[in-house]
Symmetry: C2
Subunit: 487 residues, 2 copies
């Protein structure tokens, strides 16, 4: 069945809203008693919420999950079309990402991964645009060489490619002299190495930075990029392996549903989808969560997994503290656009491109569909923002400007216009991380806040979401002082 | 208080058995009702057992843990002497090891790590012995260069340093052409590259291989070393970071006790220490575990975390299958000796040595004690095996032969003579992994087997132990078909 989320275009069907997903939950609610007071109400159904719901229910708590959408997964979900999953948001995972890998291992899904970019089929080259329309075709080995050279110049603030200044990426301020770096944007750092980059290096680097941040060079935090680099083992090879290489053969929703089913199997999970939240009122002994449609739900504790960019739309009583308010008013920058194209050009499987002046600045062959077609994935950032559904023909033209392709299908989710996301994965401006992350993690009375947006490690990744869901469930359990409750 | 495990020597006290540990459990039992039938009896108290006990109790199961020793931790525990932890077995952890890092993060211990080898104090060199008594002092940079050159020659069976033949270290037979490699010992592989290694390269490589395997070149599996290499990101730098760099400031027992306390807090954990097991009898509806002292304990299921090398001492009724029997009779090879020395030579903090002809073939400065002394850790393998307690003066002489040092204290645990370990961490001979691991993981009626010795990923590591404990608890929970039980 179709979720209301996402868009699909085909020649025959035209542009339609809503795509099929195994993450759709039907019926959307299992609530029978309106008056129940739950141990904990979890707001959201992304990986943070799913992890918290699973950990809380399996530990004996009575949980209500409220979700604005009709599906689980939040900013990570897949649409399975004709037996092939298109990843609408968060996609890639790696065994070096502790929280997500622990779950992949625990759900025995280790063997359900496949490789996105395979450089061994057909057109095996990389198209680099150093100016609009100025294209050079290079080998992937040349791509790697240029990218590594550029990234090393960009990142090397300490003569040790970041290892010296950020030796523990999960304890990132271990060396306090890393803190002033958060005053730099990527553009600031680029100005420090002005003249050192060749035009090709600049083009590759800009493409990579905007891919990572979904924003602009002038606004994105250099510090956050350094953190990502440190997490990835301080190397471009590591970045590729951690960020864009391994994905689920069955799609993200095949993973998310495992958490959901385990939580459900406890018979302690109540839920209501299509239920956006208006306000959260904490009266010390219990918390009332009021939905947009005016229903009131009661719990001893609340875990809000509402994303940073959406949090300011919720009314809190008592109001959240000034620091959290400033953080939610500031928000993060990532307005990444991700567009999938199924193209009949079988030889594009090993193609990739970077065109920093295009609205889809980074693209590569991501798989082969059951029809034998190539699946191309393309990303845009906020510098020249694209809303693909507003003009699907223009979107297709942007793709075919990158290289010749015969497009049979386009699939995407517009995260920027999505009221429950207001952007893609977390990527901050300068000074956000060092100013606000601690405040965002803090509890507010009986309300706990958890989101990948302020995770310690793989912030903005599925791994960070699971880290945060784990933390929140444990904090609530400890807070309720019962260990698991006796029923 | 002192555990009965471990040894300590000082000038004043001489050699004494038993050292203090916060992993000692007092009183050793909390059993009040002898007749209880538990949901699951867990045999052992290492990380596998601790993880299984925690996951099972927090999920609502009634658990009995039986342990032969007087302490938790199994082959990973620390003795805290004068405020300084000496790691008696498994020590190092890394954030790229998913299972252990998920727990470190969950228990909020991210900031409790410190760095073992620091190359910035005093005598900053590496002593390499290429023949008995033939010592050359090199810089650590030279050490790295020689080691990398030697390891690359040794590992490079596929022209891609192992990446091609074992691209998924957590799905190691993803490329079936990796399987024939398990017919090689390290010596077999060395004969394939005969003439390619300089004497210094050979010395470094032999030291590293015996450090990793605790066995001999003629018996250790090349395949298992390749797997370890793949897990470490296919690089020597990765090996250092994953295998010997980051440890707990408070010692391993400060971590193990977190699992224990969480399990205890559920009030569903019964336990009996000093309780070695004689037999396990499965009568379909329940399992009887009989201790050496003749007491019988009953459970619906049993999780045995007994190490591979000890499993053959337990009588199973009905007998375990022939494949498991062959595996337990074969056992693994690792007879590593690990000896700590507290030395008054402050300038040895950044010293290291490799002497393949010494009974302590790999040594390095591992920390600074509260007295300002240097803590040296040294390892021996099975080629020229050392039992330190049999002649402590000879042991001290072996240390001082490596470099001048004034020894004030020696601390160690003899894992080879320990009846509940019969060796150190798992390291197999050729053809063991491809022949027996699947069989070792299989359940036997109501008895489940879990041990780091046959983990999928970081086999033989703390990470692998937690992986296995997680798997076993989940398998038992699913098997009892209840999800968490309602009490």
């Amino acid at each position: 069945m179709n979720s209301k989320d996402g868009y699909q275009w085909t020649e025959k069907g035209g542009l339609t809203q809503g795509v099929p997903s195994i993450g759709l939950i039907q019926p959307p609610s299992n609530i029978t008693e309106e008056s129940t007071v739950y141990d904990v109400i979890i707001v959201g159904a992304g990986y943070t919420a799913l992890t918290a719901a699973r950990d809380a229910t399996t530990s004996g708590l009575k949980v209500l999950l409220l979700e604005a959408r009709d599906r689980i997964g939040g900013r990570s979900w897949s649409s399975n079309i004709g037996g092939y999953p298109f990843e609408m948001g968060g996609t890639w995972v790696n065994w070096g990402q502790a929280h997500v890998w622990r779950e992949i291992s625990r759900y025995n899904m280790r063997k359900e991964l496949e490789i996105s970019q395979e450089h061994s089929y057909g057109v095996n080259h990389f198209s680099l645009f150093t100016a609009a329309g100025k294209k050079t075709d290079l080998s992937h080995e040349e791509e790697d060489r240029i990218m590594i050279s550029a990234l090393h110049k960009f990142i090397n603030v300490d003569g040790a490619l970041g290892r010296k200044i950020m030796p523990f990426p999960h304890d990132e301020t271990y060396k306090p002299d890393v803190l002033p770096i958060d005053r730099l944007t990527a553009a600031d750092r680029l100005s420090q190495i002005e003249g050192e980059l060749s035009p090709q290096e600049y083009g590759c680097l800009k493409g990579w930075l905007l891919l990572c941040s979904g924003s602009t060079l002038e606004t994105m935090s250099f510090y956050e990029f350094l953190h990502l680099w440190a997490l990835s083992g301080y190397s471009y090879e590591g970045c590729i392996e951690y960020l864009v290489k391994y994905k689920f053969r069955g799609g993200q929703s095949s993973f998310a549903i495992k958490f959901w089913n385990e939580a459900l199997s406890t018979n302690r999970l109540s839920y209501n989808f299509n239920c956006p939240i208006a306000s959260i009122k904490d009266s010390n002994n219990s918390v009332e969560v009021t939905s947009i449609d005016g229903r009131i739900y009661k719990g001893s504790r609340v875990i809000s997994t509402i994303p940073l960019n959406v949090l300011s739309t919720i009314k809190f009583d008592p109001p959240i503290d000034p620091s959290k308010t400033r953080a939610t008013n500031t928000g993060h920058l990532n307005q990444c656009v991700k567009v999938h194209a199924e193209v009949s050009n079988k030889d594009l499987r090993s193609w990739s491109s970077i065109d920093p002046s295009s609205k889809l600045l980074y693209a590569f062959g991501d798989g082969t569909t059951p029809a034998g077609n190539t699946h191309i994935v393309a990303f845009g950032a906020n510098e020249t923002h694209l809303d693909p559904e507003k003009d699907i023909n223009a979107t297709k033209k942007i793709l075919t400007d990158l290289t010749d392709m015969n497009i049979e299908r386009v699939v995407f989710h517009n995260w920027s216009s999505d009221p429950y996301a207001k952007g893609a994965w977390f990527f901050p401006g300068k000074e956000f991380v060092t100013s606000y992350l601690e405040a965002l993690r803090a509890r507010h009375g009986n309300v706990f806040f958890a989101s990948s947006d302020w995770a310690v490690g793989w912030r903005s990744f599925i791994d960070g979401a699971i880290e945060e869901g784990t933390r929140a469930a444990r904090d609530v359990l400890l807070d309720l002082r019962s260990g698991p409750r006796q029923y």
